[in-house]
Structures are given as structure tokens and as C-alpha cells.
């Protein structure tokens, strides 16, 4: 009966005791701590040291749990400060020249400032040791405060730590949201714990938290909202531009990997060079599983740069920008740069060039490069005698990289007995087994693993990332390089480079030769896609896609992109690859990538995303887009918030009651009568007042002056309940009487009858 339901609810509500409240508060604290630890573990995964971090964090939790019983807060603060100090000191000792660095206050201040203004932790040296030094202190302190019921303290410690990672740019949107929800939960549930809230209060808090979680992502889903999406709306993840250029060149120190992208046929620059080459923009050494990061400092260019260790040939290039562009392109390996646009140029830790300011159309600069020359035989015999530290830096993989990547690579390259053959086999294998397509669903997790085992198509970023990962799994130093392919040859020594020429490839290090280029992306399909894009653009009378010279077409047939055209070796295939691979030029970065994006990202993303979610055409029928894990989680949170809200507002019970009022199961007559009376009670409760618990049915019906039908139902109920006798006819009668009353109550019908 309804009174029973209500009292049961009330009892349950009052049973929301301290244990539950405390559990919720501690759970929220754990969520907050987990949010910044997630960042730490991501870093440790990429940079190494996951086991060490697990150990430290676990020890922090245990210590906080034990000490929280008796340790005063001041002592805990001192311990946390000591932990932080020891952690940072260990880091300083672990990095080369660390102690010297510490002596220079200016350098330390500059580093801290750099971190607080967006320098990713992944970019600092020995990042794994760094996070292992940093993480224990806030973990210990936040958990200590939570256990001491000083929830605000826990929220402050966790919030500050998470805020630091937000400033470094390492905390993703989901992590930040989780941390914010955790912080709000700690304070909210903590207050309930401290002041003895009831479940009703907790429900309100759940609604608020769910609203935070649900509304935050909606900002990026509604049209004209902010760009970064917490919940991927389709198969393509990530944010930023959706052209190859955007994905490769937009971000300075890191490259994310996207899903579907498109190509821009617009002009970027023209190159006058005595040889064709790939025009290199930037290289990246640290693979995060989801993208690439360049570590190390960028310094001003001062004089000439060293050439490659082995034989090399000189290439002189002159670049003229045709669009706003934030790159200093160069063939590998640049040794000298001149021209107005080169003023203020900088050099990255990987010997790439970076402009002081962006280039504008018409800006020119010239670069002298020393391209390594080595025969394949020389490379085969180059051995593995790498310079100090180079192998460690360029063979590191995230610890979460599945072992099957290494296993598969080892199997594919079983016949290779030297790094060069291994690289060649991997390059050919990728060219041969994977198809070229710009239309892909970005996989979750480790890109290389997903591409190797789960995808049959991709574009240059996928090919290059996968090849670099495979080589690294075989302890061959390899890095990820972005830039432009040589473009359209419009004269003997002139190339026109368009947006779609932007490219990504791999460089592999060989002792006595330096970095040698390998391009695992199938050349033919890529050129076809590019040409189609150019034709479309020309047909559409687009501007900025041709120079005077380029409309005439190729000066000579475009050489096969891979293997790249050779020079002076007689053995076409082998030598071409080797010498073509000896390219090099500048690397760098592009803050000015905005200018390279030719179409509103939204428009392109929409189109490709639609294709992407349509599923494979080979599928047996139309397939529905299957929700991602994030979407599931998002949905569950929204559901929880709605449920709490519905319960809180009573909507759930009202809805249930409306259905229940009209549902008449066939039952034993006595039960039927009792059910009918429950419905009657509910009706009368709506119209008059609920029956007090101490009121007998008869008293209640008399008190509210119920009509004859209700009294009759009351009589039947008394007989059924207190005499235990009810006939089928009585059951039907009670059900029918109440059904009549329900019908009368329905507002619409009542109104119709009145009129």
C-alpha cells in the first residue's frame, strides 16, 4: 500500500548513514587523486618508469592511510614538502647536467615558467623520473586530508596539482572533468558527512555533478560551441584541423593523430633546388601511443650547423612562401640558412629549423643542406654502434605498447640481419599490405598497434608512426618526421608545393651516415588522391592553387614517391631508396598553420565523419554507429543524473503511479480488492490528503467525505482484509469502481464532461 511504500522510502532515506556519506566523500577524493595520477601514469607510460610510479603512489596511499590516524596536519604538510623536495632532488640528480642546472636560478625559473605556460611534461628530459618525484607528495597529502575529514584541504591539494597539469597541457578534457567532478564531490559529500546529510541532499549533489558532466561536453557539441570535444561524436577522435597539414603542422611540439582528414590543393610555397627532396618541417622523438612529442630545448640559430657524420652532397634551396606559413622548410640536413625570412630562426633539439616569426606570401629564404650519401651496402654494414644516449632516446616506446607489435615485426623481418634490411622490409611490408586512405576511424589506444593489427587503411601519419614503432621495437633508432613531399615539378629546378603535399615519414639512424629517410606510405594511391583534389579545385575555379608555371603540368613525369627517385646510383631500386632517403632539410614547426587550412574544419570533418560512421561498405547491411566507451560513460552519467533528479522531484514515483493506477492484474479476489483500494487511496490522496498512518480506512473515508463508490470500495476492502473473504464478483466490483474513479480524474476527460 502506498503508505507502506512511503514509509519504506522514508526509512531508506534515514538509513543513509554516515558510512555511506563518508564512502562517497572518499570515493570523490579518490576520483580527484586519480585524475592527476592518470596524467602521471600517461607520462610514465610514454617516458618509462610505470612500475616505479605505481610503487611510489601505493606507498603514498598506505602511508597516508596509516598516518591519518594520529599525525597532526602540520606534520603531514612537512612530510609532503619533504617528499616533494626529495622527489625533485632525485630528478635533478638523474638528468645529465642537472646539478649544474640547479645552480642557475634563472634556468630553473625559466623551466618552471615554461611548464606553467604549456610546456608538456613529455617534452622534458627523463619525464618518467620527474613524475615519479612529483606524484607522491600530492597523493599523500590529498588522501591524508580526505581521511582526516578535512575535505576542503583534500580538494585544494588535488585541485592545485591537477591545475598544474592543466597548465602544462598534459591533462586532457576528460581527465580535467573527472578531477573537477571529484573536487566538487569531495567538498559536497564531505559537507554531508560532516553535518549529517540525508539521502535527499546526496541526490541533489548527484544531480549537480551529473549536470557538470553532461553540460560540459555539450558545449563542444552544440553548433558554434568550443572546439575540443570531450565526447567524440563519430569515429574520428581528437581535435584541431582536419587536413593532413593541420594534423601534422599545426601544433608546435607535438603531433596528434586524427581520424578522417582531407587535402587542400592550395599553394604553400615554391622551391628552387638543384635536386628534388622532401621538404622537411619537423621531427619528433617521443612516441606517446597517440601522437608524437619533441623533447629538448629550442635554441636560437647561431652560425652554421654541423653536417651529417658521413659522406654528403650539398643541396642549395630557395623557398618562396605562397601563403602564410609558420615553417622553415629545408632538405635534410640543413647547415646554413640565409635570407630575410630566416632572421631570428631557431634550432630544435633535433636540428630542425623554426622561424622567428611566421612567413608571409612572398617571403624568401635559402638553405644549404648536406644530404647524406651512403650506399645500401654501406648502410647494411653500418652496425649498431650508436652514439651515447641516442639509442635510448629513439628506441623508447610507451610501456603499454603490446608485445605483439615486436613479435609481428620480428616475424616479418626474420630474414633481415642488419638494421637497414629490417627498415627496408618494414617499409615495403607496410606499402604492400596496407591501403592508402584519408578516410579512417581514429582507433583508441596505441595507434601503431591498432594500425598494425586492426586497420587495413590509413594515411601517411599512420604508416610513419607504425613504421617508427616497429623499428623501435627491434631496437633500431627511428623518428617521426613531418614536412612536405617534393610537389609538382614545374621546371628543371623548381617545384610547386601545395597543401596536399604535406606528408609524414620516418628517419632511421645509421652510424657514420646519420638520419636516413624511409617512406612507408604507398606512393601511387597518395598521388591519385592528390591529383583528384587538385582537379576538383581547378574545376571549381578555386584561386591560390596554381602558379603561372604549374598549370602546365609536370615538367617531367613525377618520380615514384616511394621508393624515392635516386640520383647517381646505377642500381635503380636499391640506390634510389638509399640516396633518395638521404634527404634532409630543416625541421620545424608551425605555429602559422592557420593559414594552411583552406576550409572551415567543421565542414570537412562533418563530411568525413559521416563517411566514417557509415561503416565499411563491405558490411552485410546498414550498420548503426556503435557508441564509444566515452559515449557509454557519458550516457550512464546522464542517466544517473536523470534518475536522481526524477527521484528527487518525485517524477519517478508519479510516473510509476500513473501506470500502476491503470494496471489491473488478474489476481485472487482479495488481492484484487486490496489493490483496488490502494489505487483509491492514491486517487484520494491526490484530491484530498493522504491517509494518516494511524487512520483506519473507515475513518479516512469519513474524514474526507468520500463519495458512495469510494465508501463501497472501503467496505469491500475491509471485508477482504479483515474478514479474509472476497468473492470474484467483489474483486471485479472494486476494480471497476476504482477504474471509474480513475477515468473521472483524468483531467482531459473531466474537462470534456464539464463542457
Amino acid at each position: 500500500m502506498s503508505t507502506t511504500v512511503r514509509s519504506a522510502l522514508a526509512e531508506r532515506s534515514s538509513r543513509f548513514d554516515g558510512g555511506v556519506r563518508r564512502g562517497l566523500a572518499l570515493g570523490a577524493a579518490a576520483l580527484l587523486i586519480a585524475s592527476f595520477l592518470a596524467v602521471c601514469f600517461d607520462v610514465a607510460d610514454v617516458a618509462g618508469g610505470t612500475n616505479r610510479l605505481v610503487l611510489f603512489v601505493a606507498a603514498s596511499f598506505v602511508a597516508a592511510t596509516l598516518l591519518a590516524r594520529f599525525l597532526p596536519a602540520v606534520a603531514a604538510l612537512l612530510i609532503a614538502a619533504a617528499l616533494l623536495g626529495v622527489g625533485l632532488w632525485s630528478y635533478v640528480l638523474a638528468v645529465p647536467n642537472g646539478a649544474a642546472l640547479l645552480r642557475s636560478f634563472g634556468a630553473v625559473r625559466a623551466d618552471v615558467l615554461a611548464l606553467l605556460t604549456g610546456l608538456s611534461i613529455l617534452q622534458i628530459a627523463e619525464a618518467g623520473i620527474w613524475v615519479a618525484g612529483i606524484a607522491p607528495a600530492p597523493t599523500f597529502l590529498a588522501w591524508y586530508f580526505a581521511l582526516r575529514r578535512q575535505y576542503v584541504g583534500a580538494a585544494v591539494v588535488g585541485g592545485v596539482t591537477l591545475g598544474f597539469f592543466v597548465l602544462t597541457g598534459d591533462a586532457g578534457a576528460v581527465v580535467v572533468l573527472a578531477g573537477v567532478v571529484g573536487a566538487a564531490g569531495v567538498v559536497g559529500f564531505g559537507e554531508l558527512d560532516s553535518y549529517g546529510g540525508r539521502s535527499g541532499h546526496a541526490e541533489v549533489l548527484v544531480i549537480v555533478l551529473a549536470a557538470m558532466i553532461v553540460i560540459a561536453p555539450l558545449v563542444s557539441v552544440v553548433p558554434s560551441g568550443a572546439e575540443e570535444s570531450l565526447v567524440p561524436s563519430g569515429g574520428s577522435g581528437g581535435g584541431g584541423g582536419s587536413t593532413v597539414e593541420g594534423s601534422l603542422l599545426a601544433a608546435g611540439d607535438r603531433v596528434g593523430i586524427q581520424g578522417s582528414i582531407s587535402l587542400s590543393p592550395e599553394l604553400r610555397f615554391t622551391v628552387e633546388s638543384d635536386r628534388a627532396s622532401y621538404w622537411r618541417a619537423a621531427a619528433y622523438d617521443r612516441y606517446t601511443g597517440e601522437g608524437w612529442v619533441r623533447t629538448g630545448d629550442t635554441r636560437p640559430l647561431d652560425g652554421s650547423l654541423a653536417g651529417p657524420p658521413g659522406n654528403a652532397t650539398t643541396i642549395d634551396q630557395t623557398y618562396e612562401a605562397e601563403a602564410d606559413i609558420g615553417l622553415l622548410l629545408a632538405a635534410w640536413k640543413p647547415v646554413d640558412i640565409a635570407g630575410l625570412a630566416a632572421e631570428g630562426a631557431k634550432v630544435t633539439d633535433l636540428n630542425g629549423l623554426q622561424p622567428g616569426d611566421g612567413l608571409e606570401p612572398g617571403d624568401t629564404y635559402s638553405v644549404t643542406s648536406r644530404q647524406p650519401i651512403a650506399t645500401s651496402d654501406a648502410l647494411r654494414t653500418a652496425g649498431r654502434n650508436y652514439p651515447d644516449g641516442l639509442a635510448e632516446r629513439y628506441t623508447a616506446l610507451p610501456e603499454s605498447t603490446p608485445q605483439r607489435v615486436a613479435n609481428r615485426t620480428a616475424r616479418i623481418t626474420a630474414n633481415a640481419d642488419n638494421p637497414y634490411d629490417t627498415a627496408r622490409i618494414v617499409e615495403r611490408w607496410l606499402e604492400g599490405t596496407k591501403n592508402y586512405s584519408l578516410d579512417v576511424d581514429r582507433p583508441d589506444g596505441n595507434i601503431a598497434d591498432a594500425f598494425l593489427f586492426g586497420m587495413d587503411r590509413g594515411y601517411c601519419v599512420y604508416f610513419a608512426t607504425t613504421m617508427a614503432t616497429m623499428l623501435r621495437s627491434q631496437d633500431i633508432p627511428a623518428r617521426f618526421v613531418t614536412g612536405y613531399a617534393e610537389g609538382q615539378r614545374v621546371a628543371e629546378e623548381e617545384w610547386v608545393v601545395r597543401g596536399y603535399d604535406s606528408h609524414a615519414w620516418v628517419e632511421v639512424y645509421f652510424p657514420d651516415a646519420g638520419w636516413i629517410r624511409f617512406d612507408p606510405t604507398p606512393g601511387g594511391p597518395r598521388t591519385a588522391v592528390e591529383n583528384a583534389s587538385l582537379e576538383d579545385a581547378r574545376a571549381g575555379n578555386a584561386t591560390d592553387i596554381d602558379t603561372n608555371a604549374s598549370e602546365g603540368g609536370e615538367w617531367t613525369p613525377t618520380p615514384t614517391r616511394t621508393p624515392f627517385g635516386g640520383t647517381n646510383d646505377s642500381e635503380p631500386d636499391d640506390a634510389a631508396n638509399v640516396q633518395g632517403g638521404l634527404e634532409g632539410v630543416a625541421e620545424e614547426e608551425a605555429e602559422g598553420a592557420n593559414g594552411t587550412v583552406s576550409l572551415p574544419p567543421g565542414a570537412e570533418t562533418t563530411g568525413s565523419a559521416a563517411n566514417g560512421t557509415g561503416g565499411d561498405s563491405s558490411g552485410p547491411g546498414p550498420s548503426l554507429p556503435s557508441p564509444t566507451r566515452e559515449q557509454w560513460a557519458f550516457g550512464l552519467v546522464a542517466l544517473a543524473g536523470l534518475a536522481a533528479g526524477a527521484r528527487r522531484s518525485g517524477a519517478a514515483e508519479r510516473t510509476y503511479r500513473e501506470l500502476w493506477l491503470r494496471y489491473h492484474p488478474d489476481d485472487a479476489p482479495a488481492t484484487e480488492v486490496e489493490r483496488a483500494f490502494e489505487r483509491l487511496e492514491y486517487l484520494l490522496e491526490q484530491r484530498h490528503r493522504p491517509r494518516r498512518p494511524d487512520e483506519t480506512p473507515r475513518e479516512y473515508l469519513a474524514a474526507i467525505d468520500a463519495d458512495d463508490r469510494a465508501v463501497r470500495v472501503g467496505d469491500l476492502y475491509e471485508r477482504a482484509r479483515y474478514a479474509g473473504s472476497a468473492t470474484g464478483a467483489e474483486g471485479d466490483e472494486a476494480t471497476e469502481l476504482v477504474a471509474g474513479l480513475v477515468r473521472e480524474r483524468t483531467p482531459l476527460l473531466r474537462r470534456l464532461r464539464r463542457s
Partner: protein
Amino acid sequence: MTDANTDTEPGRVETTRPEPPHRPSIDEVGDLARTVIGNTEQVIVGSHDAIEHIVTAMLGRGHVLLEDVPGVGKTMLARAIARSFESSFSRVQFTPDLLPSDVTGTNVFNQKTREFEFRPGPIFANVVLGDEINRAPPKTQSALLEAMEESQVTVDGTTHALEQPFTVIATQNAIERNRTYELPVAEVDRFMKRLELGYPEPDAESAMLDRTVGTHPIERLEPVATLDQLRGARAAVGEITVKGPIREYVTRLANYTRERAELGVSPRGSLSVLRAAQARAALDGRGYVIPDDVKREAAVTLAHRVRPASGADRTGRDVIEAALSAVRVE
């Protein structure tokens, strides 16, 4: 030892109660009760509730304690109800020097037969009115109370069964407490109901004066029911359905008082309220007890069994009222 009702074995009662020839229906019981009540009301004005309560107590095999100031018609009420049945009626005026044998009867030596023979006391009647019971010493009181509980008296080791039906209506003065032997709660517990009559309403008092200023109408009151009818009605009332929800309701009420008073309702009290409720249902012509019956009878059947927590300015009745408004009806 020649009394026909006396068993040869002491302490044993020969239960030779002939089954009434006719088991009345619930409707007949209700009619009977209403007839008795109407008949009594010819004499007693303005005490409808009290009359109902006494009649239902008789149907429920209980005894009644009337407690009030003197002169509100307690005795007259008892006599009028007794006369409405074709029953034997006796009255005992309790005084400080009353002996137990004055109530129960005594063995006297018969000079002719040269044997002791039992001379029954006033308690051998269908309706016994014990007036001002609290003026008698405890020993005498307990003789009456034992008879009420056991429906028998034991004199000189011989047990004598009482008349059936047997109903005691005792009165107790609520004033002059210092000159009385107040009944302990444990003994009051044996009464099914305690009633307080209160002063009559002005209209009712005027009507009463009008009727009684000449010949008292009770002298003309005729019986309207036979003892057989009363026995049959009692049997029928005992058969009235009491389902689980009602029993649980009564249990919750009793528990409530036990938790909130120094002395709560005894199991005997719970039984009493159920029996009274059965009779109340019969008066309504209903074959089953509903919570309303229990509520109607709760105050009069339970209040005198409760001793409120010391220091609390509450009476037993307050505790019962509180229980009724707090305990859930299901």
C-alpha cells in the same frame, strides 16, 4: 458437601455447561444487544456509550469497573442492565469490615442433618454489582477478583462453580482516596473495561429528574432477553473473525505502551481489547473485527492497565490516545 455444583475433588470444576440450543447469527446478536441497550435507556438517560460498553463487555465475557464520583448513577446503570436480562442479580456493598466469606458464601452446620452445608454468598448470581469495591480491605477484594478470574470460588478447600454467565460490575469512588484501599494495577487488570461515567449533560440530567422524581422507572423495567440468548450471543461473539492485521495492530499498540510507560498493556489487556472489539463488531452486525472496533474499545479496555512513567503528567488514557495516533493501521 451436598451442593449440586460441587465437585468431590477439590480444585476441580465440573464443567457441565449445556450448549445453548440455538446459536444466533451475528445479526441476531446485534439485534439482541441493541434491544438490551434500548431497554436500559428507558431508565438511564444520557449514558448511551457506557451502556454500550457494558453490554459489549458482557457479550465479550468481561467484567466492568465503573469509576467516578458518587451519585452519577453507577449503581442504577448496573441494575438496569442486569434487569434487562432474565438474570439473577445481587449487590454487595463493600465496606472496610466486609469479610471474604461475606462475598463468597460460607459453610454452616445444619442442625437437622448434622452436616456442614454451603450457603452461597451474593457472588452466586449472573450479574453481581460490587459497590465501592475500593472500600473493602485487600483480602476481601481479592476474593471477588479471584472469582472473576476463575469463575469459581473455593471455600474451606471446596471449589464451587459460579453461575454462567457471570458478570461483575464493580464501582469505585474516585474521591476520598485516602480512606480507601485502592486496587493495585495488577488487580484492576482483571476488569475488561474501566468506565468513567461523568456528569450527565444538562438536558439528560433534566430528563432523568423528570423520569425518576416519582416512582423510579427501574421498578417497571421488564427483561428483554433470556439467559440462553445471552449465552448464545456470547458464543457467537467468540466466533467473530479476527484476522492477522488486527492481531498485529493490537500487538503494536501494546508494544507502544510498553515502550513508553512504566507499566504497559499486559497480554491479558491485548486479549481483552480483542474480545471487546469482537463484541463491538457484533453490535454492528459484522462478522469480523475492523481496526475501528479496536480503536473504539482501546481506551476503555487498556487505559487502566497502564501506569505512566513516574513524573510524567499523563494518565493511562493519555498514553493510549498517544498510541492510537502513533501506531500504524494496516
